[in-house]
Symmetry: C2
Subunit: 189 residues, 2 copies
Amino acid sequence: MPKVVDHDARRREITGALWRLAAREGLEAASLASVAAEAGVSKGRVQHYFASRDELLAFAASALRERLGARVSARVAAAGTDPRAVVRALLAGLLPLDEEGRADALVGSAFLVRAIADPAARAQLRTGEEEILAALADGLAALPGVRDPRAEAEVLHALVGGLADSLLVERHTPDSALAVLDRHLAALG
Amino acid sequence: MPKVVDHDARRREITGALWRLAAREGLEAASLASVAAEAGVSKGRVQHYFASRDELLAFAASALRERLGARVSARVAAAGTDPRAVVRALLAGLLPLDEEGRADALVGSAFLVRAIADPAARAQLRTGEEEILAALADGLAALPGVRDPRAEAEVLHALVGGLADSLLVERHTPDSALAVLDRHLAALG
């Protein structure tokens, strides 16, 4: 079904333009018109693929979750079978440690601001966070010394959230952020 | 010098309008004109007290730091002399646990987004974070089991940063956020 593929590819092209715009100027700057301009197409063309700004943003949020999931999965797959290495890979995959991760985190922080005011965006964000917490708790359950994996997952989730902010404002480098994470992981179990 | 007092009081009134606007619509929505409208005064009147939007935002960031400092100090003073209670008070003071803290955190997260793109805002943010880290390290140095207070301060700082985000999107309640914090503090020293 080449038409469906085309449709999806076009939607992703438009989402890519939203990405660049949001990372540069914040999500609030993204309207159907400004995204069309960034993508170099007409506003009508964008409206052909997204009925409203809300629909565009919801699709972009899903795309962000997919990208984050793919990055985490790749790191976890490369980590081998040592449970501690798996947990570290999961957490490192959530941190903006390279250009791609940084662009995603910028969009992510814009979505966070949106989620504060918008219940639908908040529900979407929570679904993503629940997935992360469940994966973390699974990984932690394999560490012998961790008695309450879910509670420890909450600590680690908050820790990477704070580190991500410090990375975005360049108070931490990737190395110093990972050192904070490793310090905490070393004390676990 | 009543004139100086007036000047300062007026600047704070205008900053209060910026606060409400930023908490409601994000910092990007705050222009000299929109802040004037929110304050119920003319744009010229705002310009009398602030030469530019940047000057207004820099003043507001200082005001935010003062408010945060006052809230933390009040909690620390009420905590007594037990070193662990002092550290907990410091950390709890940084979390958006009530309406006032929430409004401040909303403005704070808007400043964080601004600091990502703006070196001057970033320098100002880092100064504030260094103050927090130094105070935390001081408090932690009084705990017998903490061997590297500065490194542990970095962990706790990241932890409250992540918890603050989860509080803003209401994934955590004040109680559940404090429970995560207490769990980590119980494992310390």
